[in-house]
């Protein structure tokens, strides 16, 4: 297997599907010759031309809405929103139109579209370009919400998302774009709704996703060596649909759970994960209260030192795991 970056893996997934299915196309701001704000679509316009790699005006509402309209009538659009923060401008089209069309129409329509958008802080872009808004969309029946954490998952999940007959929000992680990993060549899919256990362990479970995954893996490896604590790491990969079984089974296995995500803790997806465990028979296996470690409940600040500290960091994650295990 060869290594690709997370961004290259996303591009490979799009190209693979566009070669395979003429109904798949990409549209968004600066996705053409510019290659996308983060360079994800570099070179695609050369292969597929401006008809299938469409530069749009700065019009997030109609980008999402036109994708929905094209999807209902037989295309499989991939729409890129430059920053996930800007999906607020697409909100009606995504939430009231794309997500509800099938149900409102009594199951007659399909809306096979993917809305790709980079999420997360760490780029010094401050409060309007750094959010992790995934939990908002998990509250919208009809949408699927995917957050890949590795290059291989980025490819496999995106191919599955493009082939899915529902609107899928695909939240890419800005700080992972340049990370490298083994990625299978050619046809490679990862099913939506299947979690990954990245590391087996027996003392505690850390449930995490997105760019918090590498940080939590590092915490687990260090704790193994430094403290002899064995941490299992579960990455749901898709928040909707959620692989409850894997989450619950891991909680039962270790009896101790820490949930880590970058998004603000209040109202974040960690609350849902905690509730899924507490509502299940895993409750009877718990040896400690379920802990959450989310981002602080503030807009993302600009100053690098402040920005680094509003989201979960390695040292605190280790401390929380130790506290979880040793009380």
């Amino acid at each position: 297997m060869r290594e690709l970056t997370y961004a290259q893996a996303i591009r490979e997934a799009m190209c693979h599907e566009m070669r395979r299915d003429e109904n798949v196309f990409l549209m968004g701001e600066d996705v053409g010759v510019y290659g996308g704000a983060f360079g994800v679509s570099v070179g695609m316009i050369e292969e597929f031309g401006p008809e299938r790699v469409r530069d749009t005006p700065i019009s997030e509402a109609v980008i999402a809405g036109a994708a929905a309209g094209a999807a209902v009538t037989g295309m499989r659009p991939i729409a890129e929103i430059m920053f996930s923060d800007f999906i607020t401008i697409s909100m009606d089209q995504l939430v009231n139109q794309a997500a509800k069309i099938r149900y409102m129409f009594g199951g007659k329509a399909k809306v096979p579209m993917v809305l790709r958008a980079p999420a997360g802080s760490g780029t010094g872009a401050a409060a309007q370009h750094s959010q992790s808004p995934e939990a908002w969309y998990c509250n919208v029946p009809g949408l699927k919400v995917v957050i890949p954490s590795t290059p291989a998952d980025a490819k496999g999940l995106l191919i599955s998302a493009i082939r899915d007959d529902n609107p899928v929000l695909f939240l890419e992680q800005k700080l992972l774009y340049r990370t490298k990993g083994d990625v299978p060549e050619g046809e490679y899919t990862v099913p939506l709704g299947k979690a990954a256990v990245h590391r087996e362990g027996s003392d505690a479970t850390v449930i995490t996703y997105g760019r918090m995954l590498p940080m939590c893996m590092q915490a687990a490896e260090q704790l193994e060596k430094e403290e002899g604590i064995s941490v299992e790491i579960v990455d749901p990969r898709t928040l909707v649909p959620l692989d409850k079984e894997t989450v619950i089974n891991s909680a039962k296995k270790t009896g101790r759970v820490l949930i880590v995500h970058e998004a603000c803790q209040t109202g974040g997806f960690g609350g849902e994960l905690a509730a899924v465990i507490a509502d299940s028979d895993a409750f009877f296996y718990l040896d400690a209260p379920i802990m959450r470690y989310g981002g602080m409940d503030v807009p993302i600040p600009y100053c690098p030192e402040l920005e680094r500290n509003v989201v979960p960091v390695l040292e605190n994650t280790k401390k929380k795991i130790i506290q979880l295990v040793r009380g």
Binding site: S59, G65, A66, A68, G69, Q97, G106, P141, K144
Partner: protein, 319 residues
Amino acid sequence: MIQISKQKLEEMYEKMLLTRYFEEKVAYFFSMGMVHGTTHLYVGEEATATGVCCALEPQDLIASTHRGHGHCISKGIDLNRMMAELLGKESGYCKGKGGSMHIADLGRGNLGANGVVGGGIPLAVGAALTTKMKKIDRIVVGFFGDGATNQGTFHESLNLASIWKLPVLFVCEDNKYGISMSRFRSMNVSDIAVRASSYGMPGKTIDGNDVIAVYEETKKARDYVRENGPMLLVCDTYRYLGHSKSDANVYRTKEEIAEWKAKDPIKRMRAYLLENGAFSEAEIKSVEEKAKRSIEDAVEFAQKSPYPSIDTIMDDVYA
């Protein structure tokens, strides 16, 4: 003048009548408490939906609005299933889950009514994008009201359709009010069609209460849109009834309503059919009777249909 066949004239008169009778029945059901929720009636505006939709080809698509009964009926619909949807029945177009604001008939090219003002315009643009990319010989009509032209989606959609030269005809039904807000207070242009110039597309305002004029202008617009890309057609019309089921009309005068009722599109069509000698009084009465019967049949079908089972609540959230 485009030559319009007798059959087409009859079809247009019948569709306007069906829309009027359908809605009179719906208003009655509401007053009797037999339909819940809300509905937005199109009474007074029938010539616009009928004139536009009857000028389209069967493969053409429409995206409708919250005030969409006229579009549904004029594009061709199964009235039984439409009435059943309003009564929330399983046999309805949306299995009782959409109601008046979400009726869609994809098989006949109706991409659905829409509960959000301006919400359907981007969908029409997307459908037109499919049309262009797949090189399908059809156009898409995006309906919306005067109020929607103040929404961001109007601006984004017309601009995108224009730069991509998409085959979409934007039809603004200028019925003069967004709920209570007169459009003469909500924008500082007297003619909505001038807004088209911002997007480098033609815009034209026509008499939306004259079904023949609407039909002819839509035919011409359809030809234009297929060849050249989008156009904005503004139909000057008026809503007689309130915005939704209850409305005391405090924002307008009785005189204003009476003035528009004197220009009633159905009365005008009837007079036209008689005057130009194409139809006898007996023929017209026969069309009227047939339309009334169709609505009575639809009511009977809808009332006899069962409500959906509670077991179906979770069906069709995902494909």
